[in-house]
């Protein structure tokens, strides 16, 4: 006996974003500008991602022809970075984003 007939999928089709990935850089030859986006509450109570980006900056400068660095701190870590922050990274060859854990 069929007690359960046609069922409706409760999950819904995934809505595909029309955003595309930024173009890949084919090389890492300088001069380069590197960006860092810090995304944590408070460096003094956590592992300190800002300090981590400083170490990374030294490495980048050592290995690549990095001539400039843009470092930003997201004001609200749970929200995407605002347009003003994204605009400040426009000249960057790459942006490192994250939080230390």
């Amino acid at each position: 006996m069929k007690l359960v007939g046609e069922l409706v999928d409760p999950r819904g089709q995934v809505v595909v974003s029309d955003a595309s990935l930024a173009p890949r850089r084919g090389h890492t030859q300088g001069p380069l500008t590197i960006g860092f986006l810090v995304n944590e509450y408070n460096p003094s109570s956590g592992p300190d991602f800002t300090r981590y980006t400083e170490v990374l900056e030294q490495e980048f400068r050592h290995r690549l022809d990095v001539t400039a660095v843009v470092r930003q701190h997201k004001p609200v870590l749970s929200r995407p970075a605002g347009d003003d922050i994204l605009a400040s990274f426009r000249a960057c060859a790459g942006v490192v984003n994250g939080l230390a854990k």
């Binding site: 006996m1 069929k2 007690l3 359960v4 007939g5 046609e6 069922l7 409706v8 999928d9 409760p10 999950r11 819904g12 089709q13 995934v14 809505v15 595909v16 974003s17 408070n42 003094s44 109570s45 701190h73 004001p75 609200v76 870590l77 749970s78 929200r79």
Partner: protein
């Protein structure tokens, strides 16, 4: 839905729901075509109408998909418009639904129903109101929201949900405001000009505030509540944002009889619910960047309020009439989950 149509019995459906991950562990009704169509028809909306993509998975919340989850929750047709309105409210940017459902913090969307619809749908608003109060509507509406976020949103523990402890309201979190409130319904206080409305707010479970030691003086009674609003481990205490306080109808009437309207309660609590910066930050910890400029962040004796503005303290009235009581449902802080209110159609 492919294989699910092969379920030959209710027992088989229950098993499939678990094995296919369509539920969080509790049994659910099968989303049959007939049950879903009845909900959609009652809403008067097009089944394909897209309310938005439910983060983080991005499942399309069409009216039909929301209906499928509402059917699984056991919603009746008269409950469905409230579910749809709550979903639309949660999808507003200021609510930051993606963050709310995936954060490490124990907050979850609380659906607050206010206005005449509360009595019309026989919603619970007295004893045990935060656990559904034994009413069909409270439980089914809250459960429908949960299932939609689970199924369309993919909000499952571990990946992607990082909530450290969890929140009992994740099973169902819907309350109704008491018609016995001495003040206008919550949605009207938030500038929604309608007889009935919905407010969604991401918050923690209620923390009890009993009136031990307090006399009848409103300032002293509200001080009891303010103390609970500004505990040291609370996100609001450190980051502001928004918070919700709950008063029983008899407590609210006592305040009203002493000249307090809702705005006066908000103002009084905003003045009282504060902590000294020197007590909040250990020596050497810098002040927070999100505090507004008028906070004298370099002064350890500065008293910081739990919200930036009095109106960010949401005041609702519900619960039993037996004993005057209060509660706090702390928010997520300045990270999101801010209250959004929407009107319900007159006939809902």
């Amino acid at each position: 839905m492919g294989a699910f149509t092969e379920a030959g019995s209710l027992e088989e459906w229950v098993e499939l729901a678990h094995t296919e991950g369509l539920t969080d562990g509790l049994p659910v009704y099968p989303p049959t075509r007939g049950a879903v169509d009845a909900l959609v028809e009652a809403s008067g909306r097009d089944p394909g109408q897209l309310l938005g993509a439910i983060p983080p998975r991005g499942g399309a919340a069409t009216v039909e998909v929301v209906g499928a989850n509402a059917a699984m929750a056991g919603c009746k047709p008269e409950h469905f418009e409230m579910v749809l309105t709550a979903v639309e409210a949660m999808l507003e940017d200021r609510f930051n639904l993606r963050g709310v459902v995936t954060t490490t913090h124990p907050c979850w969307p609380l659906v607050i129903v206010s206005g005449s619809v509360v009595e019309r749908l026989d919603m619970a608003h007295t004893e045990s109101v935060f656990s559904g109060g034994g009413a069909h509507a409270n439980a089914a509406i809250g459960r429908a929201i949960k299932l939609l976020l689970w199924n369309a949103g993919g909000a499952t523990p571990g990946e992607p949900v990082k909530e450290v402890f969890g929140h009992p309201g994740r099973y169902a979190f819907c309350v109704a405001e008491s018609p016995a409130s001495p003040w206008p319904p919550l949605h009207q206080a938030r500038d929604v000009d309608a007889d009935s409305g919905i407010t969604v707010f991401a918050c923690e479970s209620p923390t009890s505030v009993a009136m031990w030691g307090a006399d009848d003086t409103p300032v002293n009674r509200l001080a009891q509540l303010a103390d609970a609003m500004a505990i040291k481990g609370c996100n609001n205490t450190h980051t502001m944002g928004e918070t919700l306080v709950v008063l029983t109808p008899n407590e609210a009437r006592h305040l009203a009889e002493n000249g307090y309207d809702r705005a006066a309660v908000q103002q009084q609590l905003w003045q009282q619910a504060r902590r000294r910066i020197g007590d909040l930050l250990s020596p050497g910890v810098p002040p927070y960047a999100w505090w507004p400029d008028w906070v004298d962040a370099g002064n350890p004796d500065e008293l910081v309020p739990v919200t930036e503005r009095p109106e960010d303290i949401h005041v609702m009235v519900t619960g039993a009439e037996s004993i005057p009581w209060m509660a706090v449902c702390a928010g997520w802080g300045n990270l999101g989950g801010y209250a959004v209110s929407r009107a319900l159609p007159d006939e809902s």
